[in-house]
Assembly symmetry: C2
Homo-oligomer: 411 residues x 2
């Protein structure tokens, strides 16, 4: 299968929005082994869109369109395709019912041009839109597959995953399912992770194992093809176990887990509360944890103690200790964690101190960070980081490392 | 001028990265009035790249390439263009000196394949790379302009703005300069702003005035063409004044200003310090302000008081008052602001309380937020927000509104 993605929309050519749909669809196609040779972006202009389709027909057997399915006069994707393929547009009853229901539900007045959204290519398989009004379509004609998707990512993504992928798998003769599982790591670089699991990356075909780095995590995605979901999961299980044996110490979660969602889940499950004293991060740790709904049962609060005096006045940190070891020290991180735990009467206390940069501070270079974790059993653990990013990258990573160490203590 | 952008790189077709270069270049070309009809993305494959160039030659008179200028065997953009145009590649002395200097500076060993990066299209105008090694190129041949840029955005963007734009302006016969100025607004929606300045949007040709909404601000970009920078600025000044008269109350900054950079600048310039008591935002306000280098002189710190008991225990907020008015109230926001100001001995105190959602809380619906600002003169101002976003959008906007109101008090 040779695919091309055609994104339609003048706002893309004006640079008002970025073609993130192209990247999303590409990623998903790569996972099921479909090759993509070109992305094309074209404006809301039927002549130029028609030319783009003609070119794609010569070099691809699967053409995926995004955008231009809406109700306005600028939305011309299906009209242009219909005319090129010599196919009529017909009103789809289910889609029309859905559109009318949408207007009834939202209490808005349905104007005539909205009926246009229910028009579909005759003979196409209609892909329902669960997050908007314009339905998608899939059609095979003269050996070429055409898939039409809406432009807004929150409509396009679920439609592509839930409707278009199964259609394409059917076309590929794959009667089975594709299942995937994402393993999420922290505290290890992408290169080192790949190096440690190289033997698995080399040999795996089903499931495939693909590394991917995001700014704040490293992930391995397992993707298996099988006759059923259970069979696909059975293929993945031994590979996942092998990976856990190699690099399990850095694994913090799976699939949709984030550092903050995992930390919140563990705190709530274990009925433990947390408070934090933050210096360089100035609230990043607590603000990220507070992003999780339901966290109030576990989040006691904390203090932002940005300068030395605030540490002494707000948390009774010993001035003698700070004079002796400095505010960027193991001792200060431990004291912050213990004092905030006491002050907020929480089960766990977190202390964060360090040099965000760009300038050195307190005789320590930028990027030196100490994290303290005071535990329910009265002990306190400390961790040192030596980061080399920008001011805000160092701050963000300090907060993320604190979440990661908290998770490791709770697991 | 009819432009096409060709982005080269298999990682784009695999969805590993998004074609943000296409959006950036499009935006900049739109500003100088160049029409873009197509974006094409093609992999590191010389045959398919050659075909993409052949198509672009038929439909564009200006072709802008990004990517594929590096030292590896996958980097084939200039080789493919050279062969299609029948132009030789020649070693560029200045580029070679730069590359050697780069290796000397970074203490790394220069391998032979790095010399490849100094090869340029014969007869092209070489565009120096100030942030990497591979130089760019600009060439006109048979009525078509070819501009070659590196792929990494931090190398491409400055090269495009500083080198390619002047080249294109020269080609357009514009001997002058393009100057622009971005006005940044908060607390007003995009639609309302456009509505209020509609008379200006309608009539302006030089400078043009273009609205643009980002998730957390609304901006108007003025772009003027003139013989000199001074003349361009003279064209913009009266239009900016007119806009300020219409919607100046929502203007918080210009060009690169952000809410936090502007707040930090005003605090530092006026020698005033700030502390904050945050409930629903749980540190977002302080963390964002702390992102500004040099802020320690103005940032005293604060407390995260997430539940009712923490407010009472940590800030001596009156239980009777909270029982009477609730924790999401004008009275609570004012008390938080005043108490944290006293506790941290700061000039200004900020209090944030509200219902982030998704569930109602304390008998108030999600999205109701109160902000208190206790000032150096002993007064306290309060503001109510009724937001309708997700939990984290409400929290982020609450922190941004607090920065915005702080700016308005300091201006």
């Amino acid at each position: 299968m040779k695919a091309e993605i055609i994104a339609v929309g003048s706002e893309l050519l004006l640079g008002q929005i970025t073609n993130t749909n192209g990247a999303f669809i590409s990623q998903k196609l790569a996972e099921i082994g479909v090759d993509i040779y070109y992305h094309t972006v074209v404006g809301d202009n039927p002549r130029r869109l028609d030319e783009a389709i003609a070119i794609a027909q010569r070099r691809a057997d699967t053409i995926i369109f995004t955008g231009g399915l809406g109700p306005t006069k600028d939305d011309l994707t299906k009209e242009t395709i219909a005319s090129r393929l010599g196919v009529s547009l017909v009103s789809n009853e289910e889609a029309l019912v859905e559109i009318k229901a949408y207007f009834q539900r939202t209490g808005r007045l349905m104007t005539d041009n909205n009926k246009k959204q229910a028009l579909v290519l005759e003979g196409s398989c209609v892909l329902p839109n669960r997050h908007g009004m314009a339905p998608g379509m899939a059609l095979e004609k003269d050996g070429i597959r055409y898939i039409l998707l809406p432009g807004p990512p929150h409509e396009m993504k679920p439609m592509f995953e839930q409707e278009a992928i199964p259609f394409l798998l059917g076309m590929l003769g794959t009667s089975g399912v594709i299942a995937s599982r994402v393993l999420k790591f922290y505290g290890i670089g992408e290169a080192e992770l790949e190096d440690r699991v190289q033997s698995i990356l080399d040999k795996q075909l089903n499931p495939t194992v693909a590394p991917l780095a995001s700014p704040d995590a490293v992930t391995l995605r397992l993707t298996a093809k099988a006759e059923s979901l259970a069979a696909a999961e059975q293929l993945m299980a031994p590979v996942e176990n092998e990976i856990r044996e190699m690099v399990g110490e850095f694994l913090y979660g799976i699939d949709e887990d984030t550092l903050s969602s995992k930390a919140a889940e563990l705190l709530l499950n274990r009925g433990l509360s947390v408070a934090a004293a933050e210096s360089l991060t100035a609230g990043l740790f607590l603000a990220e944890l507070a992003g999780e709904a339901g966290i109030s049962a576990a989040l006691k609060g904390g203090v932002i103690v940005y300068d030395k005096e605030a540490k002494i006045e707000q948390l009774d940190i010993s001035r003698t200790m700070l004079d002796q070891y400095g505010i960027v020290s193991k001792e200060c991180a431990a004291a912050l964690a213990m004092q905030v735990k006491t002050k907020f009467n929480s089960d766990i206390g977190i202390g964060l101190t360090g040099v965000a940069g760009p300038e050195p501070h307190d005789n320590k270079p930028a990027g030196i960070i100490w994290i303290g974790i005071a535990l329910y059993d009265g002990t306190v653990e400390t961790y040192k980081l030596s980061l080399s990013g920008s001011r805000n990258s160092n701050r963000r990573r300090a907060a993320h490392y604190a979440l990661y160490y908290l998770i490791k203590h709770l697991q």
